[in-house]
């Protein structure tokens, strides 16, 4: 099953509850959404799929109003870059109401949107902007990878959400097969049982002490998994990857435990490096694990630069396997 099929199946299951509606642009069949995640839904659930004009602020705001009246709206924002148009609704409305009205209302709205580059869509259709929302109180940010079960995560988010939630999908992962429960080039996947946050570990040799820990999420997880294999083959460096399903709140317990155990840490994200998610994770590790660190925490993200449309130039801006391995080698020295 692909990442996209998993999400599409989950949406079909969710809509068995007629309180769940999907609202967004160009959702109707036969088109079924720009990335086809909503394919088939409008045929099976015509009343629950609301295809709208190009009005991201109003559709997010309308979903907020629906949520305040007991519905379970799911908003589809066609490209993650357009989340800036929803920012006022997210920051000054959706995430405020529950707290500022002293818990008299809940706002269970889930906003789904694909982020990430690698498809040549250029500066305004390729970004990973989720880190801009890290400092918004009362907002949860979830991002499945191909090692997760994205559909199961989406169902959990929609069914359990009391507060606004950003569900970040990985654009490049849509057509990819899920690696769930399988091995990738011998890389073992371990789902952390104690974690409610869908954290998981990617390891080649789970019994052995790792040289480097990579912490990442979403679309970058696959790059990190490839790095586990390549680093051992070419440099005999043992790398463990902690893949987080929750971007916010962070699974601090897993991060701290592993950071103390391994001592050499690289934080990997696709968003721009300055003021990013990696800065937050790195800061927590320095605060909590300083004496266990063999080297300062290293960060890798996109260069602070708009993402070019041309593929060779895009590769220079986004983090890739080559630069990740270089960083890993430096850390392991």
């Amino acid at each position: 099953m692909t990442y996209l099929e998993s999400l599409n199946t989950a949406l079909h299951e969710l809509m068995q509850n007629d309180n769940v509606v999907l609202i967004g642009e160009d959702l109707l069949d036969p088109y079924g959404g720009a990335f086809k995640v909503s394919k088939g839904l409008s045929t099976e659930f015509p009343k629950q799929v609301i295809s709208t004009p190009i009005s991201e602020q109003a559709i997010t705001g309308a979903a907020v109003g629906m949520a305040m009246r007991g519905m379970k709206p799911i908003v589809e924002i066609m490209f993650g870059d357009f989340i800036t148009l929803c920012a006022d609704q997210i920051i000054n409305h959706a995430t405020k109401y529950h707290w500022m009205f002293n818990a008299q209302v809940d706002v269970p709205v889930v906003i789904r949107t694909p982020m990430g580059g690698g498809r040549g869509y250029g500066p305004t259709h390729s970004q990973s902007l989720e880190s801009m929302f890290l400092s918004v109180p009362n907002l949860t940010i979830v991002a499945p990878s191909i090692f997760h079960d994205p559909g199961k995560m989406l169902k959990k988010c929609v069914n359990n959400a009391n507060n606004p939630l950003l569900f970040i999908e990985s654009k490049v992962s849509y057509p990819k097969n899920l690696i769930q429960g399988k091995d990738l080039n011998g890389v073992h996947i371990e789902y952390l049982p104690e974690s409610n946050n869908d954290s998981l570990l990617l390891e080649l040799y789970p019994e052995e002490q790792s040289d480097v820990l990579i912490i990442t999420y979403g679309g970058m997880s696959e790059v990190a998994a490839n790095c586990v294999y390549e680093s051992f083959i070419s440099e005999e460096i043992i790398v463990t990857v902690l893949v987080l399903g929750s971007v916010k709140p962070l699974d601090t317990q897993s991060i701290v435990t592993l950071a103390r155990k391994i001592g050499r840490i690289l934080v990997l994200e696709e968003g721009c490096i300055t003021g990013g998610w990696g800065a937050e994770v790195s800061s927590i590790i320095h605060e909590r694990c300083l004496h266990s660190l063999i080297k300062p925490v290293s960060r890798l993200g996109s260069k602070d630069f708009p993402i070019p449309a041309s593929m060779p130039m895009e590769l220079e801006i986004l983090p890739n396997l080559g630069c990740l391995q270089k960083k890993v080698v430096e850390l392991a020295k």
């Binding site: 509606v21 009343k47 709208t52 004009p53 009005s55 602020q57 109003a58 559709i59 997010t60 705001g61 309308a62 979903a63 907020v64 109003g65 629906m66 949520a67 305040m68 009246r69 007991g70 519905m71 709206p73 006022d88 609704q89 000054n92 409305h93 405020k96 109401y97 707290w99 500022m100 009205f101 002293n102 008299q104 209302v105 709140p249 962070l250 601090t252 317990q253």
Partner: protein, 299 residues
């Protein structure tokens, strides 16, 4: 129409706002406040038509709407003074109120799509409820207003948007802010539209009665513009409007019109009752402790 009751509501709003300004000057309030003095006829006429299960969404100038809907001066005063028993436990303050089906937020126009979504939800679930959203002329500068009008017309939801045109967006007169006309803007979306210049409840009440009955029946949006005037400054102080203009509108004070329909004795009784009520609330609230913040346990 029960003019005694309508005057009681109007006078409660007027006196509440006047007391607030006094308390503000004594340094007893936090933040800022935007008083509704001069526009009382709009809130009272529109909101008196609603049932408890109808929804009202208001803006930064929300005290009048709140009092007309919830008749809760104690909860409101406690909220604005940050005292225990505040309707949102002091978290929201003057501009961010919530009780039962009343809501307000301080971002211009931002709550309009929220009101739209609520109206959608009521129609989707087949209730008889309608949503009334109040905005001002200044809010017409926000793009989200037009996204909302477009969707309201396409979705055919039971939403009444009342535009209280008090002619000023904070300090800027409408002539400097508004190109074309409000009517032209609304009609472009194919939405039912009405406009009236009045501070007179005996005109506004029957007008809103008809509008709201119709929305409830056909479940489609309507925009109603009431050309009115705020007699006080935008918030507490600085007022640079022409004094002659203010004086002209003082002669059209909504309280003058409704008092003409009442006996002197009725007026005196209501005013005494409201003043006594507000005095005892004020005394009580001043003695209450400040509400405190209870943080959730951090990870």
């Amino acid at each position: 129409m029960n003019y005694v009751e309508l005057y009681r509501k109007s006078y409660l709003i007027r006196q509440f706002e006047s007391r607030l300004l006094e308390l503000f000057s004594q340094g007893k309030l936090f933040g800022t406040t935007h008083t509704y003095v001069g526009q009382e006829a709009v809130a009272v006429s529109a909101i008196s038509q609603l049932s408890d299960s109808d929804i009202v969404f208001s803006n930064h100038r929300c005290h009048g709407h709140y009092l007309a809907k919830e008749d809760d001066p104690k909860g409101l005063l406690s909220e604005i003074m940050g005292k225990e028993g505040g309707v949102c436990a002091g978290r929201g303050g003057s501009q961010h109120l919530c009780k039962n089906n009343f809501f307000s937020n301080g971002i211009q126009g931002g709550y309009l799509p929220n009101a739209l979504g609520m109206a959608f939800a009521e129609k989707y679930r087949g209730t008889e409820n309608i949503v009334v959203a109040f905005i001002g002329d200044g809010t017409l500068g926000e793009g989200t207003v037009y996204e909302t009008l477009n969707l309201a017309s396409l979705w055919k939801v039971p939403l009444l948007i009342v535009i209280e045109n008090n002619r000023y967006a904070q300090t800027t007169p409408i002539e400097q802010n508004l190109a074309g006309s409000i009517a032209g803007r609304v009609k472009a979306f194919g939405i039912e539209y009405g406009e009236i210049e009045s501070n007179n409840i005996s005109e506004l009440y029957p007008r809103f009665e008809k509008i709201i009955k119709k929305i409830r029946l056909i479940k489609e949006p309507h925009v109603e513009v009431v050309n009115t005037y705020r007699l006080n400054a935008h918030s507490k102080g600085d007022d640079f409007r022409d004094q002659k203009e203010i004086d002209m509108w003082k002669d059209r004070d909504p309280l003058i019109y409704i008092k003409e329909l009442l006996k002197n004795k009725e007026i005196q009784d209501i005013e005494k009752e409201v003043n006594d009520r507000l005095f005892s609330i004020e005394t009580e609230v001043e003695k209450l402790p400040f509400s405190t913040i209870k943080f959730p346990k951090f990870q």
